[in-house]
């Protein structure tokens, strides 16, 4: 029973809840994701991204809620899901005491790929690891481990890719390559759900889902999320910026004050009040410009509007 309807959702889950003891990691999240898109999973540490992904691919039992992944029930048809998804774990979880090639061979054998050695040659060639294929995977640098993992989980051309912070610790150029690869895969019909903490990566997603405290705070395209935040943002640059931050902090109208590089962004939902707050502080050595709120501004606003910062550090 293969879900053939191309319009069917790749992921269709409702009311997913996951409790660990009396701690609720995911608290009633719905997700309806069409095929062929790239969606970003965002949210602070401990917000439930990893837990959510694990439930979607059947690695964790749900406490409540139900749904399908690629048309298969996430509770009962886990094996069908495993055959058709590629899941890249947040922490490198390939075998460090196997060589690069042996890891790929293991995956290829389990998925019974045709023409195994040619396929692996091609994958290793694409990675540019031809002359290091006999090296132990554990000896690779962090970024190379991530690349190997991505290659390994896409080798069987899955219909759905679940990537959990795939670019953590990857250098900027490699990160760019990584995303080019992700977009290339979607043109081949793959659906990609990727969790990330990088705003620039979030901007490359068709749609983003923002989790906080195990709840879905918002969902939409980047523009939607920014618009929904209803923010107005002014940007201060210059030598006096450092002093401004403490003065603006807590002023009515200046809802969020945050550094972006060396510049300071002041955002508020009420434009007039925000401007009044800016006028109030001395502008010596500071130039103000109006800017489009960034995604990060929007998230900070969303977070503080949703209540205090519940980040858990466990």
């Amino acid at each position: 029973m293969i879900a053939t309807d191309p319009n069917a959702l790749a992921i269709d889950v409702r009311g997913l809840v996951k409790k660990f003891g009396d701690k609720t990691a995911v608290d009633g999240v719905d997700l309806q994701m069409p095929r062929g898109q790239v969606w970003g999973f965002l949210g602070p540490n401990g917000s439930g991204k990893t837990t959510m992904i694990r439930m979607i691919c059947g690695l964790l039992r749900t406490t409540a809620g139900e749904g399908t992944c690629l048309g298969f029930d996430i509770a009962r048809e886990v094996n069908e899901i495993k055959l058709r998804t590629g899941y890249m774990t947040q922490k490198f979880s390939f075998w460090t005491d196997l060589t690069i090639r042996e890891n790929l061979e293991f995956v290829a054998r389990l998925h019974q790929l045709d023409d195994m050695s040619a396929t692996i040659d091609r994958v290793i060639g694409n990675l540019g690891l031809m002359d290091r294929q006999k090296q132990l995977a554990g000896d690779l640098s962090g970024g190379w481990k991530q690349r190997l993992a991505l290659a390994a989980v896409t080798m069987h051309t899955p219909k759905l890719l679940l990537l959990d912070e795939p670019t953590a610790g990857v250098d900027p150029q490699a990160r760019r390559d990584f995303w080019d690869e992700i977009h290339r895969l979607t043109t081949e019909g793959m659906t990609v759900l990727v969790s990330t903490h990088y705003m620039d990566e979030a901007e490359r997603c068709d749609r983003i889902v923002y989790l906080a405290n195990g709840k879905k705070l918002t969902e939409g395209s980047v523009a939607d999320v920014i618009r929904e935040s209803g923010l107005f943002t002014a940007r201060a640059e210059g030598d006096g910026v450092r002093r401004l931050a403490s003065e603006l902090q807590g002023k009515p109208g200046a809802d969020h004050v945050a550094y972006f590089g060396s510049a300071l962004h002041v955002s508020g939902a009420d434009e007039a009040a925000m401007r009044a707050a800016i006028r109030d502080v001395s502008s010596e050595g500071v130039t103000w410009t109006d800017v489009r709120p960034s995604l990060e501004d929007a998230f900070i606003a969303l977070m503080s509007r949703a209540g205090e910062d519940h980040r858990t550090h466990s």
């Binding site: 690695l59 196997l98 995956v107």
Partner: protein, 378 residues
């Protein structure tokens, strides 16, 4: 021909385990090192032919004949007389305290009755709690005494030196009624070594994946629990085969243990026994949370196996509750098979009950493993 995908997945896990096993030098070395070390320790400790064993003599008469016999015993090198008494209670105390290994007793009027042809008894009591220490000395006693008499009984008494011997040698193996000998121990070691190493090694099979964080990846792959189990167990069947070969060769050439039964039958039984232990180890690894716990479970199982299987102590000498526990252990049944086949030439029909018991154990343990296998990360 289409190979079933299940077989291909077992093959995938098998190859992975084989490579990892080969690369883990320490464990690999241990798998061969432990049997060799145990063999040498156990084997040579028992096979050495201890001499000069302290002996007490209980004798009430000092005739030349008795002196000849005692002298012969002493010159044989096995017995060293440390005291002579005419009070049997004193000598049994010494034996009980382990200060002497033997008590040799000549009854009153021994010489006279021997001359009259009444075949008087010579009693040798041995501290057989360490059977390996006393067995050779006892085995030699008859020969030593006979030879001495033949020298001495010349002239008018020559007629007495004909068989049967003019005396009756009675031996009491105290503290160890079954009188286990080294022939019993080396075949038994085969079972002990296989139990210890194989349970321990597969006990780490799944916990290692958990500890190294590779479990999440393994679970995300399309392999069924039974496929993972078989793929992880099979490489170690080869290890068991190598260990068996080492021990059998050593039994034959180092310890000269007789082999009267069918080698094919023994290897068949070994295979089933090896699989039983591997399955048990795998089950442990589905229960334990860490490699350390798997190790502890292994020892928790290994100790009763060692003590209650009939390897250390004679099975029939144990209290009923201990025998009941012993009957559950695969080693108990394996010992019956291996001793039966090697020493007594037992046939398949003779060992079918213990074979069935081991197979039943394997099936039950595998079912437990499948029920315990974590299909998810919870």
């Amino acid at each position: 021909m289409q190979i079933p995908s299940s077989v291909l997945r077992i093959w995938a896990v098998f190859v992975k385990e084989l490579v990892q096993m080969r690369r883990d030098r320490l464990t690999f070395g241990m798998m061969l090192g432990i049997p060799i070390l145990q063999l040498l320790l156990f084997g040579y400790a028992i096979n050495s032919d201890p001499k000069d064993l302290p002996t007490a003599v209980v004798v009430e008469e000092q005739t030349p004949l008795v002196r000849t016999l005692l002298q012969a015993m002493e010159t044989s090198g096995y017995y060293r007389f440390v005291m002579q008494t005419d009070d049997p209670r004193e000598s049994s105390d010494l034996l009980a305290r382990g200060e002497v290994a033997f008590v040799v007793s000549f009854p009153a009027g021994f010489t006279e009755r021997l001359v009259r042809g009444e075949r008087p008894q010579i009693l040798i009591e041995a501290d057989a709690s360490d059977p390996s220490a006393s067995s050779n000395a006892i085995a030699q006693a008859n020969t030593i005494l006979n030879r001495a008499l033949r020298h001495d009984l010349a002239g008018p008494l020559a007629g007495l030196s004909a068989t049967p011997a003019p005396f009756e040698l009675v031996t009491h193996q105290n503290y160890n009624p079954e009188g286990i000998t080294q022939y019993n121990i080396v075949p038994g070691l085969l079972g002990v070594i296989l139990t210890m190493t194989l349970v321990m090694i597969t006990g780490m099979a799944m916990t290692r994946e958990v500890e190294r964080g590779t479990m999440e990846n393994l679970l995300a792959m399309p392999a069924h629990p039974a496929e993972v189990m078989l793929g992880k167990i099979l490489p170690y069947v080869a290890v068991g085969a190598i260990q068996t070969a080492v021990i059998l060769v050593a039994a034959r050439f180092l310890f000269a243990v007789p082999f009267v039964g069918s080698l094919g039958l023994l290897l068949f039984a070994v295979t089933i026994f090896v699989i039983a232990n591997l399955a048990l180890g795998f089950t442990f690894s589905t229960i334990a949370q860490s490699q350390l716990q798997a190790m502890q479970l292994t020892f928790f199982f290994f100790l009763p196996s060692l003590l209650l299987s009939g390897f250390m102590f004679p099975f029939r000498g144990m209290p009923p509750w201990a025998q009941t526990i012993g009957e559950v252990l695969p080693l108990t049944h394996f010992l019956r098979i291996v001793r039966g086949v090697m020493l007594k030439g037992a046939s398949l029909a003779d060992v079918q009950i213990p074979l069935f018991a081991i197979s039943l154990f394997t099936v039950v343990v595998m079912i437990v493993a499948m029920l315990r296998y974590r299909r998810t990360l919870d």
